[in-house]
Symmetry: C2
Subunit: 313 residues, 2 copies
């Protein structure tokens, strides 16, 4: 069942005390380049540096007191691991994070820094799911999926809700597409609060599972994941896919070189640090800019967590 307008409104009220109403930035250089008015919703300035803080916070806030006492568990080596750790810490809840043993040390440190309790597993999907199940059984913790969870999706919807509250006349909002949690949430907000507004996804050609899923009508997967956009390697789930099918207008695919060039353009011209996954949404707009002439375009800058020692330029 698709979440209602009332549920999105309630999620906004619920997470408000725990997340930043992130700034919306503009650049006259970029407006001229694109030929449209572009509004960047800066979730890279969100707590822990990504929109994932919203979904994680909303999901924990929806647990019963008994559930909160037993804690939460997820598997992630990326932003959701940090988001769930910090959201849990803010709400005095334990967060168990299953991370692949070969995850970068810097990511493990970040999770620990936010108070997450790390369990290492082999880096296969089955190994991490088995480990997460073991923790659920042993501790009674509630499993919270990074993107395929109704309350996570509702939490993610709060970013576009804020953007549409300050800019109600946007013609479209672009987001990157990875596990589908951000674009599903965004499309809910666009549907309920937009004024003839469209939700558009940006996805790397290298991991275009969501593009293919929309074409075939069933969840597709990637055989390889050779993309710099490390947050977008995952695939859709049974909870977010129906929302995406219902409310997302289109997904535009982009080449790796376009992602890097879009990322560099934003770093150099806007002086903000965005991660490659965030650049995918902007790259999609740049690729098809002729179709968006004179439009008002929102872009969700999903996050800014990058390894400064390993930049693509």
């Amino acid at each position: 069942m698709i979440p209602t307008k009332q549920e999105v409104v309630e999620a906004c009220d619920r997470v408000k005390p725990y997340v930043h109403n992130t700034p919306v930035l503009k650049s006259s250089f970029i407006n001229e380049l694109v030929g449209a008015e572009v509004f960047f919703k800066c979730e890279n300035f969100q707590k822990m540096g990504a929109f994932k803080m919203r979904g994680a916070t909303n999901a924990i806030l929806q647990l019963s007191e008994t559930q909160k006492k037993a804690g939460v568990v997820t598997h992630s080596s990326g932003n959701f691991a940090q988001a769930l750790s910090l959201a849990a810490k803010n709400l005095d809840v334990k967060a168990y994070i299953v991370m692949p043993e070969n995850a970068p040390q810097v990511k493990k440190e970040a999770v620990k820094g936010y108070g997450g309790i790390i369990t290492e597993s082999e880096s296969t999907p089955i190994a991490r799911e088995t480990e997460a199940e073991r923790i659920q059984k042993e501790t009674g913790a509630t499993f919270i999926h990074p993107s395929n969870n109704r309350n996570v999706i509702l939490g993610n919807a709060t970013s576009a809700s804020e953007l549409l509250q300050s800019h109600p006349d946007l013609d479209c909002i672009f987001t990157p597409v990875g596990g589908g949690g951000l674009i599903a949430g965004t499309s809910l907000a666009v549907n309920y609060f937009g004024n003839n507004c469209k939700t558009i996804g940006g996805e790397p050609f290298e991991v275009d599972d969501a593009f293919r899923s929309l074409q075939s009508g069933k969840i597709e997967f990637n055989e390889t994941t050779n993309t710099i956009a490390d947050g977008l390697k995952t695939f859709l789930g049974d909870i977010n896919f129906p929302i995406i099918q219902e409310f997302v207008s289109e997904i535009i695919r982009v080449e790796e070189a376009e992602i890097i060039s879009a990322m560099k353009l934003i770093w150099e011209r806007m002086k903000i640090i965005i991660e490659p996954s965030s650049a995918v949404a902007f790259a999609a707009l740049l690729r098809e800019k002729d179709r968006f002439k004179n439009k008002k375009v929102g872009i969700i800058i999903s996050g800014g967590n990058v390894d400064l020692k390993n930049l693509p330029f």
Copy 2:
């Protein structure tokens, strides 16, 4: 003669249509680390990426119509070259920029991109001054010094003026110290609009000419300039030094490693791109943070123009 409050107010009104009222950002992580409430005035988001846009704009706006027709000239290989070029372009005035022949190609391209007319000179102070004088004679253009010019200083004062307008209860404002134009302007604003507010400079030990000038009571120079803060290698001038003597409370010196670490901290935690010179002001606060416990501290982030191919981390 020290500029009056009325002159600062007029400069604010004058440049307002041509510059951004830049955002003020905060970070709870940094507040906790410093033990103070820190407000970052983000001139890295200013047009052309630095506060210099303010002084350049104010200086050109103060010219007579005859002077404007003949154009402006300066010598700079840094942000002021870009600032004067863009400010002149916005006001339909010609800008002649004397740059050392060995200046990085990327900086020359930036100046050209903003419409500046470049003349190359040898990279000695005498060669560039001779070249600037030749242009003045041949074209009738008005020479505008990057930092030692009354109207440039008044334009620079508008950043701290905006900061104090939105945050009137700041206890102090930190700026980096290079040629002295920013800190002089800031100290004017602090003196006229602050409420028991102090102006504090940050300066690299490697080029601590301003620190020594305040001690000796005369303008001192640097024998070497081995600092990563490439905007701070210049020395004070006869117009800004008396203002600095009158209104600046102190200058705190920092090591190169402190500059790099402060810069990295802001990139990683605030997700904004600042140049090494900007990090010097924050590094000064970090070095002496025990003295600023529980204070409200403003920091002018002077600019964000960095070479992404040549980062210190």
